[in-house]
Amino acid sequence: MIDFTKRAGFNLVGRHRAEHRFQWSGRFAIMTSLAFLAFMVGSILIEGSGVVRQWQIAVTVDLGPEVVDPDDIDAASFGRILKTGLMGHFPDVQTRREKKKLFNLVSPEGSFEIREQIAADPSLLGGRQTLWLTASDDLDLYLRGKVDINLPEKQRRISNVEIEWIKDLKQAGQTRLVFNRNFFTNGDSREPEIAGILSALVGSLFSLAVCFVLSFPIGIGAAVYLEEFAGSNWLTDLVEVNINNLAAVPSIVFGLLGLSVLLGYMGLPRSSPLVGGMVLALMTLPTIIIAARASLKSVPPSFKEAALALGATPVQAVFHHILPVALPGMLTGTIVGMAQALGETAPLLMIGMVAFIVDVPQSVLEPATALPVQIFLWADAPERAFTEKTAAAILVLLVFLVAMNLIAILLRRKFEQRF
């Protein structure tokens, strides 16, 4: 009788056990790393998701002609109007300290919001109007249950008397939770409830655009020349070694280079996406060149031989037959490099893109900041409400990174040629 089972010997039991051990340890490793990833994304999501909505409170203000002159709206004191409106809701408040607390219920930007609402709808003028204004960050945190009211009064940002006022406002239907447009349409602000991501986002996009325009053609050109035309001698070897070294240079060094050469020597505008993009391009170039060369190398040499044997010039052979096949790989490498650049902070700090930017930049020459720098700035801010903004900004950055990688995958799928 022949035994074809595990019991046949050949040390099969031990060998199978080793097999299982290894496979399970591999699965465990993957599970662990996935768990860490899920934990990170999950905690950021939980922390940042609250930013989608924010509280507003309704304040009835007097916009009569004696307060706001319809022909000269800007002359009116909207701060005064807002304060009077708030006092109107709580006539008992007398002391200076209490008044200050009362005014703090509404965002310090509240007076500008009144002005903007009038600009959007001039028919508001001429009498008493109830306007919805953004609540202050402390009030917003409280209303979302993020303030521990069991703490002693001195240790929390919102006092007992304020809690009473909020209760009154809530009962009177003067509070509401709305979609937080500020976060997506504003630039940075000292006030967390007003601060938005748009200026950093636009700054990042401008920088990436400059980075792409510079690094893609230069990188592809360098790779094609090195791979297909440059002979192999000590000079090309030196160039190759240095490209590989450059890919490993800490990014802050590129920032220093930008600071001394682009800003100091060439005098380009400080804090601008132009300079940011140029520095990022320097940083991305080695990545693109290495990826592009690998992609060129993977094209079977038979295409080039066939073209040359037909009497194509070397440039024709490369541009007609090698480049089209290598392009998807080159694009993938470029997008991966760009994604790296999108998340880069250190070199941007060196060239001044760490500035406090309120207005959305209109061109690559205007001062701007970038997403990772904005995250850094907000993480550093003392106001508690910025924690949430930081997490939300990280989410925006992650969404962009995932989108870019997705584009890379789709491009490769679409243009990949089998041979």
Binding site: S232, S302, E305, L310, G311, A312, P324
Partner: protein, 253 residues
């Protein structure tokens, strides 16, 4: 001696320090098939690639001697390799159609050399080339499909069509059937035989039966030296040299 079209005199080829060809004197007649046979590493492919100067692509490769086509020295500094290769086509061991449509594959040579002045002429010449390569009937209704969707034998005939589209004087073939099955091989062999009346063909082959079937002249290479050249029938039936005898009877190689 037949009247020679391609003539090599004292050809030495080196790869770095290694000498691959030793003093080759070989005359190849026009409009016939000349087979280069010999064991692997004997230098037959090196010789073939010297004829359209594909060896130039190898930086360490050095050529010495005289190699002429129609009286024109190929390694003259005046010679432009692009002009040379436009008139000396090559078919490779592994079918290597471009990753483009069948039409584009054949039209490519015409395009880069500006050989077709109108769209109609281009289509006519592509059709003529595919017909000459015996492929037209199989691909006439699918010219837009990628060249590599064809079978191996069809791909190799597509490569031949691509080569003859620019109407070269000489076609070099480097083991064109080694990647094909016997049936596809027979079709390609018939094609080579029919091309003989218009083109001078030099073919490297590992298969002695193939050399016997399709060539009129055979040159036997061994260890970088040309051992024997003569009419195919004579070489295979009454070889002059013992090495040739040993090779064709399977004792070496």
């Amino acid at each position: 001696m037949d009247k020679s079209y391609i003539s090599a005199k004292g050809v030495n080829v080196f790869y770095g320090d290694k000498q691959a060809l030793f003093d080759i004197d070989l005359n190849i007649g026009a409009k016939k098939v000349t087979a280069l046979i010999g064991p692997s590493g004997c230098g037959k492919s090196t010789f073939l690639r010297s004829i359209n100067r594909m060896n130039d692509l190898i930086p360490i490769c050095r050529f010495d001697g005289s190699l002429q086509i129609g009286g024109q020295e190929l390694y003259d500094p005046e010679v432009d390799v692009v002009a040379l290769r436009a008139q000396v086509g090559m078919v490779f061991q592994k079918p290597n159609p471009f990753p483009k449509s069948i039409f584009e594959n054949v039209a490519y040579g015409l395009k880069i050399h500006g050989l077709a002045s109108s769209k109609q002429e281009m289509q006519d010449r592509v059709e003529w080339s595919l017909k000459s390569a015996g492929l037209w009937g199989e691909v006439a209704d699918r010219l837009d499909e990628p060249g590599n969707s064809l079978s191996g034998g069809q791909q190799q005939r597509l490569c031949i069509a691509r080569t003859i589209a620019v109407q070269p004087k000489v076609i070099l073939m480097d083991e064109p059937c080694s990647a094909l099955d016997p049936i596809a091989t027979a079709v390609v062999e018939d094609l080579i035989d029919s091309l003989r009346k218009d083109y001078t063909i030099v073919i490297v082959t590992h298969s002695m039966q193939q050399a016997a079937r399709i060539s009129q002249r055979t040159a036997f290479f061994h260890l970088g030296k040309l051992i024997e050249v003569g009419n195919t029938k004579d070489v295979f039936t009454t070889p002059r040299e013992e090495q040739t005898q040993n090779y064709i009877t399977g004792r070496i190689g």
